[in-house]
Symmetry: C2
Subunit: 193 residues, 2 copies
Amino acid sequence: MELLEKRIQQDGIVKKGNVLKVDNFLNHQMDIALFNEMGKEFKRLFADRPVNKILTIEASGIGIACIVAQYFQVSVVFAKKAQSINIDGEVYSTKIESFTHKRVYDVIVSKKYLGPEDHILIIDDFLANGCAVNGLISLIESADAVVEGIGIAIEKAGQMGGKLLREKGYLVESLAVIESMDDKTGKIIFRHN
Amino acid sequence: MELLEKRIQQDGIVKKGNVLKVDNFLNHQMDIALFNEMGKEFKRLFADRPVNKILTIEASGIGIACIVAQYFQVSVVFAKKAQSINIDGEVYSTKIESFTHKRVYDVIVSKKYLGPEDHILIIDDFLANGCAVNGLISLIESADAVVEGIGIAIEKAGQMGGKLLREKGYLVESLAVIESMDDKTGKIIFRHN
């Protein structure tokens, strides 16, 4: 998606350790007009899929998921990190390792909001090693629901998460795929295919 | 807001300890069509305020804030709980005590996304004792930005947070104000004034 690639080139900052900071527009400050364009594009890419719910994970997936949901006219469920006294006992749970935070989270979804009748589009801001998406797939499979597709804002091709998901047969659509980036020059190269 | 009150009556569950569970439509599963109606109502209530940015706090404020932002045509910034390696050193920070989770969080906003030029509308899902909102106000004041108003989905009048904020002169608009609720009968009484 050209608009997103341009924005990454303009406002993204490449940091040491293969980190791309896009907190100017994607996951701290959020450009809602851009999210709407992303929503239209995801709707085009998943037009033939019978999506009835979007699943994401807190926190930075929530904003994108809610705007995207308007184009599918469906509700959003977000998986929560760690137990809250406000969640009933009846939950699906899994463990997810965070690349960004270098720790393992317990992630839960109430059984009330995920079931065999659901056809799920997973939405998230980043796909790198795929830990978050694989955790969400595990929750969906626990509920006997169907993964209709996986929509990602920015995929980092070097970290293989997307490749492995596609090899397993999942439909993964990433709006920008980063082939490589250089923290010394700030140069970002995108993959197109 | 009648639509929200009806939804709370229909799907809200009153639990012991003065807890109202609305995770069916507000803060776990999210009804985006309802959020759009809330966005229109907030725009009506804050129509004369020169809002140029919405500030919320992760996680459950983000979805509402993003949908509401469309009616103000502004960006959203969400305050983050605890330090991430992806946030630059230059942040405003404060401590917030969570009523739901019974713990104290460090909450931060990058100095890049909050400054003296900003006129902020705070959006959150709940207002009870006001800890979260007061923390956001503290971040805004650290940045010499202006609090234009505070928009809340559900206010629990018994916990005084809203009363104290109004006494300090802030414009607080809550779409549903709970006067009282009974976990034995499930009865919820709303305040109208």
